[in-house]
């Protein structure tokens, strides 16, 4: 007998070395170990308060966008980590938590303008890509813009420009009833400017505190002022409450009501008997001009949640999609590479492409002018689509404003 080794047997020393090398492999090649970990994306949306009715849809849309990709980004498992944004201060704290504790690679969120303004500053500080999926304050992609922040919702000033021609058809005496924070104040500023340019008069302007439960005293003031049109700037549940009380006090149909950025959930909460008004909206599930991908999304949403996809669901879906596809394109989780990929991202829209404009990271998209149907027979189907604005796609840049008009300086 020989004591040598056959070709199949491994000497003990080599076996030990091999085992040690295998055990040490994750240390030597950390990127391989990380590849097995799920990619984490932060979701920073309010979980309580009036706005929670909207954020539920924003979150559902984002989760559905991930499910459509079998919960994979860059070929790796991915997950959304959802934290609350109860106040601007708490929102920024949770943003830091997402980055430092949860190790997310990018963040989706910003349900209220007041929160989003604070969050975008934190995003720049933490150097984390942040896609704002709901807030509409002009300054987010205007003077407060930064390289890491991208924004979906059309800025207040732009939506006002889109809606003003509709308001002017009713007359030149306007009354503003707006929320007493950034969103509402933005509307009054833009609306006043547009009305002055048209030679009209502001016959009244009231700021209502957030979560005002009773608007009857405001409605009495509006009635006394006898405007041609009421221009609203109330958000979420406050708009629903106002419209209910507007109807109860016999004002529906007497004075036209207009508002920008209606959320479907806001109008669904009002009920068919009391709903009224003309609005701008980003998306409507029954718009015949929705793209095949959007129609498929609406079907999937209905199938999964048993109710139609609200505009907020689409907003959650399209922003999440833009981020996930950009990370795929970047082939990296490095923040600046994701930012560059988001700047180059495009998706088909109705005869044009959705994209973020490079100099202000604002999503370029047409808005819908919708009005409440005179007779509502389906509890979800409230709107007639009056127009897609601007009518000519070539006018998008002009409507959204030039670099000098927007005032965004990313540095």
């Amino acid at each position: 007998m020989t004591s040598g080794t056959s070709g199949l047997l491994i000497p003990r020393r080599k076996a030990l070395l091999g085992a040690t090398a295998l055990a040490a492999a994750p240390l030597a090649a950390p990127h391989i170990a990380r590849a097995a970990d799920p990619i984490k994306i932060g979701l920073l949306l309010a979980k309580t308060g009036q706005i929670a009715a909207q954020t539920e849809y924003l979150a559902n849309g984002s989760f559905l966008a991930l499910e459509e990709r079998n919960n994979m980004i860059m070929g790796q498992p991915a997950e959304l980590v959802w934290l609350d944004e109860p106040t601007p201060q708490a929102a920024t704290q949770n943003m830091q938590k997402l980055v430092q504790e949860n190790k997310v690679s990018a963040i989706l969120g910003g349900s209220l303008s007041s929160n989003a303004l604070a969050e975008e500053a934190t995003a720049a500080q933490l150097k984390i890509p942040f896609v704002c999926n709901n807030a509409a304050a002009t300054d987010i992609s205007g003077k407060n813009c930064n390289r890491y922040t991208f924004r979906l919702n059309t800025p207040v000033a732009v939506q006002c420009r889109m809606l003003a021609p509709f308001a002017l058809t009713y007359g030149k005496k306007w009354y503003f009833i707006t929320a007493s924070y950034a969103f509402g104040q933005d509307i009054v500023k833009s609306g006043r400017q547009l009305l002055e340019e048209a030679g009209g008069t502001v016959v009244g302007s009231d700021e209502a505190p957030l979560n005002t439960p009773d608007f009857s005293s405001f409605i009495l003031k509006i009635r006394q002022a006898k405007p041609d049109v009421v221009w609203g700037g109330l958000s979420a549940g406050d708009l629903s409450t106002f419209l209910k009380q507007w109807d109860a006090m016999g004002m529906r149909g007497k004075i036209p009501f207009l508002e920008i950025a209606i959320g479907d959930t806001d109008i669904w909460s009002v009920g068919p008997e009391a709903a009224t008004g003309t609005f701008t909206a980003l998306w409507w599930y029954k718009n015949p001009n929705n793209t095949p991908e959007e129609k498929k999304f609406a079907e999937s949403y209905d199938k999964k949640y048993g109710k139609p996809a609200a505009d907020k669901a689409w907003m959650g879906w399209i922003t999440a999609r833009s981020l996930f596809e950009s990370i795929d394109a970047a082939k990296s989780l490095e923040p600046m590479k994701i930012v560059e990929a988001l700047e180059a991202w495009k998706a088909p829209a109705d005869g044009y492409s959705y994209s973020y404009r490079k100099f202000d990271h604002q999503m370029m998209m047409k808005n819908l002018a919708v009005s409440v149907k005179p007779q509502i027979t389906d509890k979800w189907d409230y709107f007639n689509v009056e127009a897609a604005l601007p009518k000519d796609t070539a006018d998008l840049d002009k409507v959204f404003g030039t670099e000098a008009e927007v005032g965004c300086k990313m540095g």
């Binding site: 005002t212 439960p213 009857s216 006090m249 016999g250 909460s269």
Partner: protein, 289 residues
């Protein structure tokens, strides 16, 4: 000027009457049980949601059952949770009832979803009335009348019935009431249920006015605390006067300085408490001092 002020005062009285109703339940519970019930607004929410469900299932007449169901939920909560807080620090009851409020809101959100539920006034109360400068929705007028009757009945119940006398005696000297052979724990369960049921009635009344959402308690609980603090803790008449005053003050602020309308009731409360720390009709209670 009167043409502007009168409609606002009327509007303020109507809104104030709703605040009274929310606050009375809170005041009764605090006055008799010594519990600062932060979940009071949640029973208001439950009232609105039970009414909505009953209306959808059985129509308008069934809505009247909603406060009874809220009262039953309140009694169960008292038996399982609140009873354990009677000999604890007031801060403990505040924290526990705050947690209860969050639990109820989350449960409602889980069952009904976060979206607001449409709920209109009954058809026979839709429409509005105009008297000179005054414009008022018929539903609001009916609400004002119903609140007035309800408060009157409640006052008669507390002041003129043997049960009411036991409640008032129990709030002042529970030990003595126990020594007289009265089952005080059972009485306290009924009191908590009654307070919750009144909050439920307010929720039923508010449902067609406001939007029925899981977070609607937020709009109810703060005015209720303000009204109770201004009126005097545990004072029935104080809560009525304070509620109506708060409603009118808010309405007049909307007329002249609308952006302050959310803060004015707190300023009003601060001024009142500086001038009269026990509130308008608050008495000195040995139990709480």
């Amino acid at each position: 000027m009167l043409e502007i002020l009168i409609p606002q005062i009327v509007s303020g009285l109507v809104v104030g009457s709703l605040y009274v109703l929310i606050a009375i339940g809170l005041s009764i519970i605090f006055g008799l049980l010594g519990i600062v019930n932060f979940a009071h607004g949640s029973f208001f929410t439950l009232g609105a949601y039970f009414a909505l469900t009953l209306y959808q299932l059985f129509g308008w007449p069934a809505v009247i059952l909603s406060p009874i169901f809220v009262g039953i939920v309140g009694m169960v909560v008292e038996r399982t949770l609140i009873q354990k807080l009677y000999d604890k620090e007031p801060l403990i009851s505040l924290i526990v009832t705050f947690a209860l409020a969050l639990l109820i809101e989350a449960s409602v959100r889980l069952i009904y979803g976060g979206i607001g539920q449409p709920f209109s006034p009954p058809p026979f109360l839709s429409g509005f009335l105009i008297w000179g400068p005054i414009l008022i929705a018929q539903y609001r007028l009916a609400m004002l009348a119903a609140t007035t009757v309800l408060l009157l009945l409640l006052w008669l119940f507390l002041e003129k019935t043997p049960f009411g006398r036991i409640l008032r005696a129990g709030s002042r000297d529970p030990e003595m009431v126990g020594l007289l052979g009265i089952n005080l724990p059972r009485v306290l369960t009924w009191v908590f249920g009654l307070g919750c049921a009144i909050s439920g009635i307010a929720g039923v009344m508010a449902a067609p006015l406001w939007v029925v959402t899981p977070s609607m308690a937020t709009n109810a609980i703060m005015p209720a605390f303000v009204v109770v603090a201004i009126g005097g803790l545990g004072s029935f008449a104080g809560a009525v006067i304070a509620g109506l005053m708060v409603g009118v003050v808010i309405a007049l602020t909307i007329q002249f300085y609308p952006s302050a309308s959310g803060a004015v009731m707190y300023v009003f409360m601060a001024v009142m408490l500086i001038l009269r720390p026990r509130g308008l009709l608050g008495e000195r209670w040995e139990r709480f001092e």
